[in-house]
Symmetry: C2
Subunit: 409 residues, 2 copies
C-alpha cells in the first residue's frame, strides 16, 4: 500500500489564500453595482440631509411656542406661508408663527420642529390651533443627522446591498470603483466523461461537474469559463491548463486528483511555470483528494471527480479563496449560520473534519437537521440537502439533539 | 382630522398575490439556468447511473469469492483483465476472477462489488491476494441507484441551485423551460426629488429610492426598469403609469402614497384601466401608507416615500408578490430564518405588525439581535442593519433574551 497524500488540515489550507493577490478594479455605473465589492471606500462630501427636513405632514414651528399646549388650552399660531416641496421656503418664521409643510419639506429659518397635522385645527386661512406641544428637533431631521459630512459611507471590501447603493445614490455617486468579478476557468478530465450533448456509450457519463461548478462559481459572484473535457493525457492537460491560466484568475480541474491511473494531474501542476504545490490532500471528508497549486500568481485546483465531493470542497475550501481574490473584506462580510438540532446520532472518524449533508425540517417549533443517508457519491443527496454541518477534527460524533450550525447549500 | 386609511392586516394583503397570474415561460440553455425557476418538471428518461459503476480504485469481483478473507487467510483471485475508463469492459468474470478497475469504471458482467486497492496485494501479473471480504453491492453504484428511470428530477416551481443544474446535465438536458424574469417598472414621484446626476438645490434631495428599489428587485430575481421621476401632477403620473404597465409585469411607485398634498396617487391608480384598489394602508410599521392596486392583470404599488419604509415594505410585502408571479412554488422554496436572542426590551404598539431593524453580534457563543436606535427614516439605520425582526399584531413588546427570527437584509 502506498501513502498517496500528506494531508493538510482545513485551517492551514484556508491560510494559503493570502498568497494570492486580489483581482483588478473597474469603474461601473452605480445602477449596475448591486452585489459588487467596493474597492475604494467613499466618504460623505456633504451632510445628509443637507438641510433641516420635515418627517411629517403638518406645520413648521418654533417649539417653544407650543409648550403647554393641550386640547383644553391650545396654542394659537399665525400661518406665515406654505413651504413648497423641493424649494427653499424663501421666508422665515417668528415665535408665534407657523408654516404649512409636507414630509420631506425644508424647514424655514426660525423653525426648529414640526407639529403633526393631526394635532392641529385650522381656524381660518391664517390661524391654527395646536393641541400638543413639540420638543425642539421633533418630527424633523437635523442637517447631517443621517450621515454627517466626512463620515465613511461605505468601506472598501464591502459587498454592496441595496441600502449601500441607495446611500451612494443619495450622495450623487455616479460610478463606483469595484473589484472585477474573478474569472474562473473550469476543466473536466477523465476518459469516461462526455459532453452533455452526447448520448453516453456504455461506461461513459455526461460531464455534470462542469454545470455544478459553473453554478457554484456564479453563486460566489465570479464568472465561470468552461475549457471543455480533457482526456487522461499529460500533454493535453498541460496545454489546457496553460491556456486557462492565461485567460483567467483561477483554474479548477475536476477529476484527476484521485489516486490511480489519473494521478498525473500532480505532475502537470508541478510542471506549470513558477509552480508550487501547496496542498496535496486535505483532512476533510468528503474531499480528501484535493490539490491546491500556485502557478505564478494564480491558484489552480485539482478537485475530486465525484460530483458531491467537488461541491463540498467548493463550498468549504474554494469559495473562501474566490472571496479573497474578489476583494471581499472578512471584517465587513458577516456570515451568520442557521442553527438547528440534530435529529439523530452521527458517528465520525477522528483526525478529519467531516461534512454531513442535512435536510432541514420544522417540527414542534424546532428546526431539525436530518442527516441524509445514502452513499456519499450520489447527486440526489445534494439535491435533497438544504445544507452541510461540520463535525470537528477531534470529535468522534454528535449526539441526537446537539445544536449544530448549518452551512446553506 | 380625517381617517386616511382603512388599513388591511399583513396576512390579508399577502393573500391578494393569488389574484395575479404568473409570467410567461422561455427556453434557455442549461448553463444559463442557475437561479432561474423551472416551469415544467423534468423526469429521468434513463437510470442514473446507467450501468453498474465503481466508486473506488481496486478490483471488480464477485463478493462471494472474498467471504472470509483476512490478512492471515487471504483470498487468491486471477486477474482477468483491466476495465478501460469510458468503455464497456468487453469481458466477464467468474467466481475466482477479478478485473482492475478505477473509480467511475463500468463493472464487467459477473462482478457485483469492488475490493479497494488498499486491501489487496499483487502477487504477480495475473494473481492478487485479497485481505478483506466485501459484501455484494459494496463500493459500487447499482444501475439507477442515484436516480431511477421515471423519477422526477426537478419539480416545476423550483429555483435551480448548482446541484439541480448538475442533475439536469447528467440527463443531457440542453435547454430548460423556465419562467421569464419578471420585469418591474419603478417610478419615483415628488417635486423635491432630483436625479442623482444633479446637484440638489436647497430643499431638493437625490432620488435614492430608484437605486434601493432597483437593487431589491434584482435581489428578488427580477429585472428593474426605471421610468424616471414624475412631478406631483395627476396627468404626468397617469401617463407614466400607463407607459410602465404596457412594458412591465409589475409597477412600483415610490413616494406619493402618504397623506397630504400627494394623495392623488390613489386617484391615478383608480383611473387606470380595469382598476381595482385592493389595499389602501397596511397595519404594519413602518410602511402603513402602502397602496396595492390591480390594473387589468398587473399589480401596481404605491410605496411610502421614506427610503427605510419602502425597503421594509418591499422585503415583507412586495417580494412575495414578485416570487409568486415568478412562478416560485412555496412548497419547494424553503426559507429558514436565522434565530437570535434579543439584547434589550422593545416596546410595540398593539394593532399593527412592527418590523424592527437589528444588528447581529456573536457574544459568548450566542447570536444577539441588537435593535437599532435612531429615527426610523434614516438610511444609516438600514446600512447598519443585518436584518429585521417582527413583533406581532397583538404583542405589546418583547423582553430582552426572547428568541426571535431574523429576516436577513
Amino acid at each position: 500500500m502506498k501513502e498517496f497524500f500528506k494531508v493538510t488540515d482545513l485551517k492551514s489550507v484556508l491560510e494559503y489564500s493570502s498568497a494570492f493577490p486580489r483581482v483588478e478594479t473597474e469603474d461601473i455605473p452605480l445602477d449596475e453595482s448591486f452585489g459588487r465589492i467596493l474597492a475604494v471606500s467613499i466618504d460623505a462630501d456633504v451632510d445628509l440631509p443637507d438641510f433641516m427636513r420635515s418627517t411629517m405632514d403638518g406645520y413648521a414651528v418654533r417649539a417653544s411656542a407650543t409648550f403647554g399646549a393641550s386640547e383644553a388650552n391650545p396654542a394659537y399660531l399665525t400661518i406665515k406661508g406654505a413651504v413648497p416641496m423641493g424649494e427653499s421656503p424663501g421666508f422665515s418664521i417668528g415665535s408665534g408663527e407657523a408654516a404649512t409643510i409636507s414630509t420631506g419639506g425644508m424647514l424655514p429659518e426660525g423653525a426648529d420642529s414640526v407639529v403633526m397635522i393631526e394635532h392641529t385645527e385650522a381656524i381660518d386661512r391664517t390661524t391654527i390651533e395646536v393641541y400638543r406641544s413639540v420638543a425642539p428637533g421633533q418630527h424633523i431631521l437635523e442637517k447631517g443627522e443621517d450621515i454627517p459630512k466626512g463620515a465613511v459611507l461605505v468601506p472598501d471590501g464591502k459587498r454592496l446591498r441595496p441600502q449601500e447603493t441607495g446611500l451612494l445614490a443619495a450622495f450623487g455617486t455616479k460610478t463606483a470603483t469595484v473589484y472585477k468579478k474573478p474569472v474562473v476557468g473550469i476543466i473536466s478530465t477523465g476518459d469516461e466523461i462526455v459532453s452533455i450533448h452526447k448520448t453516453p456509450a456504455p461506461g461513459e457519463i455526461r460531464d455534470l461537474n462542469m454545470y455544478t461548478l459553473s453554478g457554484l462559481v456564479r453563486k460566489a459572484g465570479a464568472v465561470p469559463v468552461p475549457f471543455g473535457i480533457v482526456r487522461d493525457d499529460f500533454d493535453d492537460l498541460f496545454k489546457t491548463c496553460t491556456t486557462a491560466l492565461a485567460q483567467t484568475d483561477m483554474v479548477l480541474i475536476s477529476g484527476g486528483s484521485s489516486v490511480g491511473t489519473r494521478d498525473f494531474t500532480i505532475d502537470v501542476l508541478s510542471a506549470l511555470p513558477e509552480s508550487d504545490i501547496f496542498v496535496h490532500g486535505i483532512s476533510i471528508s468528503p474531499g480528501k483528494p484535493t490539490i491546491l497549486a500556485k502557478s505564478r500568481d494564480l491558484a489552480i485546483w485539482g478537485l475530486p471527480g465525484q460530483v458531491t465531493s467537488t461541491m463540498v470542497v467548493f463550498e468549504i475550501v474554494v469559495k473562501p479563496f474566490i472571496e479573497h481574490i474578489s476583494g471581499l473584506s472578512q471584517i465587513n462580510e458577516k456570515n451568520f449560520k442557521l442553527s438547528a438540532r440534530l435529529s439523530r446520532n452521527i458517528a465520525s472518524a477522528q483526525g478529519r473534519t467531516e461534512f454531513i449533508r442535512v435536510r432541514l425540517n420544522h417540527k414542534d417549533g424546532i428546526l431539525w437537521a436530518d442527516p441524509i443517508l445514502g452513499k456519499s457519491g450520489l447527486i440526489n443527496t445534494m439535491v435533497n440537502a438544504d445544507g452541510l454541518i461540520e463535525i470537528g477534527l477531534n470529535t468522534e460524533g454528535l449526539d441526537k439533539g446537539t445544536e449544530v450550525e448549518v452551512i446553506p447549500l
